[in-house]
Symmetry: C2
Subunit: 228 residues, 2 copies
DNA sequence: AGCAGCCCCTAACATCGTTAGGGGCCGGTC
DNA sequence: GACCGGCCCCTAACGATGTTAGGGGCTGCT
């Protein structure tokens, strides 16, 4: 597998870190493993990188790297939605991607490109400068927060075999058997709270965001509940 | 300080962990330090707690414990906004609280109480069961995502002395000096993107959420852009 | 007296991020 | 040809981490 790598670059480091991340998760990503992945011993990494933090910054941008920007067609609303969906898909695609990205603003080149494109579309849609900036911030905050919650274990029945649907059913049971006099709403909404269909859950929030933003435009964009 | 603690309970563990978190941050929170805080050696913790993970679950609920639920007055919208503001304030109040809470769904008793109250108000406002559940999920996802981004270092000028405003100005300079032909929007919106006023940034998103949710109600709640 | 549970201990394990210091190799300069 | 400085990697080690194994008191019940 690992041929005598001709040169270790920051790029190859990022690629190696990405492979380790996929294999062992964020908790299992160590300097030594990344070093081994590029055919080198741990201490040598510090020639290319100041910290593990800096390595994670590299990894962060490498994750954003394969973000596909949505086609420039349809209403601004449809483009906005697509942006949100693809961002979520990106975070879900690679193991622990959300945890890596969370709390890591340091923008690499790929991140900058995505942000630039996003702002361009928002301004073209008629949003003011401040609103456009805040809207893009809002979207990324929502997506990151959502995926982070989505991927967190529902309780203690986490990595231990339990599938997502199974864990959801267990959580539902937990809610349903709560004391009904102190937690009437939790009991009543047990099914809704533990609905494992994360796609529609995400879509719900996304539509609310789009609606809220649409109200900012002079003509007030098309309403949300349209057919089809 | 540390008197010969009569008994180590899960409660006292949570309190100790909270103290260590405030002093040394999440990265500096180790089993040994928490143990020392309760007057015990590290291995003894494993009698009360299975994992460090479980300790963090305890800590998580201890953080939520001092959440003050907003007064039950005003429109549902005002109550919704207050909920968001207080949740953010809570996460900002304690060091690294957002990082602890992020990706930790396991609901302790305090978390359940807050959720119960939130759902009660949303249903009283007229939201359907599924919508109420999703709305509360939406709010917490936004708040967590926002605070997480808010607290992440703006670039490499992080813990190194630079104040928030100073870091923001540096980041603005970074954006402003980007190649203007490939990043015209980033250059143009440099000031808006790096505006250090996080309160209005947060409020913006919160208002958008409220607007989006209001559109779901039959009478369509009062519009956002009111005077005052 | 003895047994059982509770609660804490000392040691130790493997692994981690990081630093110190050394050594080849490669280009250019006297 | 000799020297030299930058580049890139090495071995060794430091302190700290989460976690487990095994032991030992103490309390209360039989």
């Amino acid at each position: 597998m690992a041929e005598p790598t001709p040169a270790v670059t920051r790029q190859s480091l990022a690629a190696a870190a990405l492979r380790v991340l996929e294999r062992d998760g964020l908790a299992g990503l160590s300097m030594r493993k990344v070093a081994a992945e590029v055919g080198v011993r741990a201490a040598s990494l510090y020639w290319h990188v100041r910290n593990k933090e800096e390595l994670l910054d590299l990894l962060n941008d490498a994750l954003i790297a394969d973000a596909e920007i949505p086609p420039r067609e349809g209403s601004w609303r449809e483009q906005f939605l697509e942006y949100g969906r693809r961002h979520r898909a990106l975070l879900l695609a690679r193991r622990d991607a959300a945890k890596v990205v969370a709390g890591r603003l340091a923008p690499g080149p790929h991140t900058l490109a995505v942000l630039e494109d996003q702002l361009d579309r928002l301004r073209a849609a008629g949003f003011g400068d401040a609103d456009a900036a805040m809207a893009s911030y809002l979207l990324s905050a929502y997506v990151q927060g959502f995926v982070l919650q989505e991927q967190s274990p529902l309780s203690a029945a986490e990595a231990a075999g339990a599938s997502r649907g199974e864990a959801a059913r267990a959580a539902g049971e937990t809610f349903r058997t709560l004391p009904g006099d102190t937690y009437p709403n939790l009991v009543a909404l047990a099914d809704d709270l533990t609905d494992p269909d994360m796609n529609t859950r995400f879509e719900f929030g996304l539509q609310r965001l789009a609606d809220g933003l649409a109200a900012l435009l002079p003509q007030g964009g098309t309403a949300s509940g349209g057919p089809s």
